[in-house]
Amino acid sequence: MDKSFWIFRNPKQAIFCIMAVLMVIGGINVFSASFIQAQDMYGNSYSFLIRYVIFTALGFAVMHVMRRLGYKKLLQPELLFGIYITVALMMMAVFVFPAVKGAHRWIFLPGLSIQPSEAAKLAIIMICASSLGEMLKRKEPVRLFKGRSSKIVILTVIYFILIYFEPDLGTGAIVMGLMLGMFIIAGLPKNEIVGMLGIALVGAIGLTMGTAYRRERVMVMLDPWRDPLDKGYQMVQAQMAIGSGGLFGTHWGQGTGKFFYLPEAHTDFAFAIFSQENGFLGVLFVFVLFMLLGYIFAYIALHAADEQGFLLASGVTFLIIGQAVANMAMVGGLLPIIGVPLVFISYGGSSMLISMAAIGLLLSVYDESVRQEKRKVIAQEAPENRREGLQFTSDRRWK
């Protein structure tokens, strides 16, 4: 398990290095994409960059804490229930705070704003990992509407409803999607998968087409140039920004998209600015970095010490890598605008903290697998345990 990874000594080091590169790229991009708006809003061009750096530092602290506590302790049902309730309360609290662009998504505290729906994503992953992992261990069937697992569905739907009324259908869908993903890999029967995907599709279409502005969003996504000055504005601006980057980009800092042309230039659409300034080569580089990260995540998941660890690491893969791909696809116009952030690259404190916490959990999965490996090695080497150990290896080889 503790094998060397390419040029890195172990997966842990590889994760840190790739993360560091992404954070440097992200910091530069956040600054480049935000300094105009920061100057305009706060009179300080560095405003967003400073906060990005602060959140990054905080993120490392959170990551460290999560890793030290370890997933085994953190996936206790009582603790998870507490987390669930806290996040739910926070998501109710957002309605107390003023709406931004018509949506109640944030809790505003002096100096920072929190987006509880980001926390909901991790909370669901943890709940799924804990519960489904336990069920897997006991060979209990995982069903959507039957048995213990159906309670998770109820909890998730409650979250979804809360998020839906913010309104933030995109994030709600992601939460549901994460849960569904966890269920699928935890062995959801195929007919339920098909049925669920069918329901999700119908539900998505129904909810989307039910509201005029969402329907417009989808229509505009299909052809943003039909209304480039109004409904398709953001999409068109994003595509112009991306396209104008060409192969090599306009060079750092020289894109025009961020000059109030592209809405959310430093948050959800930061990758468009990145594409404009760094070109297709930059896009490819970041994509490859995320895929490498994903590969290591998957490696950790597949070598997890137990079912909970595996499911948790899988969930984190979806959270980090899945969202990254979704964001790129959204910015590039392959998905409707669903408000999914691109961790490290786009500015977003809550997303950064949650992602770092998730990576902390993932690292603890890795730590656990290393510990288990060591125990086995010790067991192999101890003469009284040799028989058992040999059995295990042969078991692994032949089974």
Binding site: K139, R143, G243, G246, F259, V283, F287, A298, F310, M328
Partner: protein, 680 residues
């Protein structure tokens, strides 16, 4: 198999397989996404880059002022300043990107703009609104060449209210500082900085205010961005054109021609002063005239520079030319005798002297002196048709002079099919049409000893750094007569003024040579217009070594006086008398002239006609305060000198002569006070 996990859970390995499949799906979708970026950036990159570029950049055209025209001494005749012109882009006059969901938040920009701008622009609200609402229009002039204060106010309103679709274009506005003076020479500037006539047209390419354009990037709020990458347009300084004109002489000539127009109620007039040796045109006036500052108030006929574009039969002023041709061909000398019976019959046509009287036996000098037609016709017969036409051609008739002014005519010189009566007419300056400048140039050849020079108006063109990029030089087209012939003719022409028909051109103390001329006006449809005459006088001074040659032509003087000797000779005298004094040219003899002191006074008086009043002086009071004088009429340099003497500061506005000041005259101020003075 289908529902394996319905009743029992999946194994970890099975779960991992599913996980790997999901990961592969994510990877595939990621690959699709990268493909999408490749499509956007590599395939459609150029198109999207162009769209993005077009969206964010605009060509900013900077107009630079037109080059100056000054006289030979550098006095400004035409200058340009930049003024802003307001235009609207009606289609853009809506709030576009503001709160797309809330339509009611959009302002009626057009109405708002009309309301706010109407009082500043002094255009009615309804009219503005109408212009702002022109459908499918991207460009509507609202008001051109705003006054600086107006422009500032409008800019402020646009900025403060974030009014979209209203822009300024800087345009060059031409000012002719001396108003009507030398109007036809200078010409005028039409819209879009286009030279319309005169030097403005001739040198339009050189003078035209350059337009420099540069691309400027804008943010979505239409503020300029990336300013650091765009240099401020460096003002393209244009060359200054120095004319050969002498403002003082021009002033005198203009005044004299104005007088003549009034006195004789004439249809038009032209007067030119040339340096006979170099061909420099020192003054050139034409009537009717116009004010190039307001060309729309005048008919286009007044734009014609009669000096180069008016063709007429010269009449007797042509006789010295014919005389020279005769002398050059050796058929006549100053003392050659002619018999004048008062009339002569050529073929079936009878030619008479102007008074019909015969003078009997006279010398050729007398023929010229008395402008004797019979003698001239006889001379013409002696010269012969071929030699006569060749001689006239040699003197530059029938061809344009090549002067650097637009619209020059070449006159009419029939070379073929000349009958005997035609030759007779030609000898007395009929049957040939000339321009005043052609005639004057030919006379200059007599004045300067035989050189036919090319007249010119552009002394030099000096670029912004002071380098002369083009210089007008004396150009001798050819030598037409010998020094001997010219001196003989000068002598004869001097007699015209001292003893003959040009007495009214005489100036006491100076030797003046000249020739009068009266011709019936040509009808544009052929033939003559009876009762309409062109009275002209051409001459030079001093007769022995001429400094100035001048032609005066009055078109259709009305009333009892119409002869050149009566109408044009006095104008010649009035003008040159002033100029000789002004230029300090010493008389040949002091007999009957005022004393030198009186001359000085006269000269000072003439100068003061152009320069006004004694300079204002500061008055320092006992309490240390300074009493301000009235600065009206003082130029910037003088004002600075005066104020510096009293340790006061000047804040000037504009250029030219002071017309307003703050504090007002008589105010007592402390030293170091700033005095604002507006110049015009």
């Amino acid at each position: 198999m289908y529902n394996r996990f319905r009743n029992h859970g999946a194994s970890l390995k099975e779960c991992m397989t599913r996980y790997v499949w999901v990961c592969i799906l994510v990877l595939l979708f990621g690959g699709l996404t990268v493909g999408r970026y490749a499509w956007l950036q590599l395939v459609r990159g150029e198109e999207l880059r162009k769209r993005s570029y077009d969206m964010a950049t605009n060509k900013i055209v900077s107009q630079h002022p037109r080059g100056k025209i000054v006289d030979r001494d550098g006095a400004e005749l035409a200058v340009s300043i930049m003024t802003g012109s307001l235009y609207a882009d009606p289609e853009d006059m809506v709030d576009k990107l503001a709160t797309t969901k809330n339509l009611s938040n959009r302002r009626d920009v057009r109405k708002l703009a009309a309301q706010l701008l109407a009082p500043v622009l002094k255009i009615s609200e309804a009219k503005l609104l109408e212009k702002f609402s022109v459908p499918e229009s991207r460009f509507q002039w609202i008001k051109r060449s705003l006054e600086p204060k107006e422009e500032q106010a409008v800019r402020k309103i646009i900025r403060e209210n974030r009014l979209p679709g209203l822009h300024f274009e800087m345009e060059s506005k031409r000012y002719y500082t001396k108003k009507k003076m030398a109007a036809q020479v200078l010409g005028f500037v039409g819209i879009d900085d286009k030279g319309g006539a005169g030097i403005e047209l001739q040198l339009d390419k050189e003078l035209k205010g350059r337009k420099t354009s540069q691309l400027q990037t804008f943010n979505s709020r239409q503020d300029r961005i990336y300013d650091e990458f765009v240099k401020d347009p460096v003002e393209v300084k244009l060359p200054t054109v120095y004319l050969t004109l002498d403002s003082h002489m021009q002033y005198v000539v203009e005044a004299a021609v104005d007088n003549a127009m009034l006195e004789y109620n004439a249809a038009g007039a032209a007067a030119i002063i040339m340096d006979p040796y170099t061909g420099e045109i020192l003054a050139m006036a034409s009537r009717p005239t116009f004010d190039p500052n307001n060309i729309d108030d005048y008919s286009s006929e007044s734009w014609n520079n009669k000096g180069v574009s008016f063709i007429y039969e010269p009449g007797s002023v042509f006789k010295p030319i014919v005389g020279c041709i005769g002398m050059t061909n050796g058929v006549v000398g100053p003392n050659t005798g002619f018999y004048d019976s008062g009339h002569i019959t050529v073929a079936d046509r009878v030619f008479r002297n102007w008074d019909g009287e015969g003078l009997g036996n006279i010398s050729f000098t007398d023929v010229i002196k008395f402008s004797n037609n019979v003698g001239m016709i006889k001379l013409g017969q002696m010269i012969g048709k071929k030699s006569m036409v060749e001689g006239a051609k040699n003197f530059g008739f029938g061809n344009d002079t090549g002067v650097d002014l637009p619209g020059e005519e070449s006159g009419i010189l029939y070379a073929k099919d000349m009958w005997d009566p035609d030759l007779a007419s030609f000898s007395i300056g009929q049957g040939i049409a000339v321009t005043p400048l052609q005639e004057l140039r030919a006379i200059c050849a007599i004045a300067n000893g035989g050189e036919l020079v090319k007249p010119y108006m552009i002394k030099k063109i000096v670029d912004a750094d002071g380098n002369v990029i083009r210089e007008g030089k004396k150009e001798v087209v050819r030598n037409v007569i010998t020094e001997n012939v010219s001196s003989q003719m000068r002598m004869m022409m001097e007699k015209v003024v001292s003893e003959g028909g040009g007495k009214k051109a005489a100036i006491k103390g100076y030797r003046i040579a000249g020739k009068t001329g009266t011709a019936e006006k040509l009808d544009p449809n052929g033939g003559y217009t009876p009762g309409k005459y062109i009275a002209s006088f051409v001459g030079f001074v001093p007769a022995d070594k001429p400094k100035y040659a001048m032609l005066v032509m009055v078109d259709t003087p009305k009333g009892s006086l119409f002869y050149g000797s009566q109408v044009s000779a006095p104008i010649f005298r009035d003008v040159l008398q002033q100029i000789l004094v002004l230029k300090g040219i010493q008389p040949s003899s002091r007999e009957g002239l005022p004393s030198l002191e009186e001359m000085d006074k006269l000269s000072a008086k003439l100068r003061s006609k152009q320069k006004v009043k004694p300079l204002p002086k500061l008055e320092t009071l006992a309490n240390g305060k300074i009493k301000l004088p009235a600065f009206k009429g003082v130029d910037i340099r003088k004002a600075t000198e005066i104020l510096e003497a009293g340790k006061l500061r000047l804040r000037p506005y504009g250029e030219g002569e002071a017309y307003q000041q703050k504090p007002l005259p008589g105010t007592e101020v402390d030293p170091n006070t700033t005095v604002e003075i507006w110049f015009n």
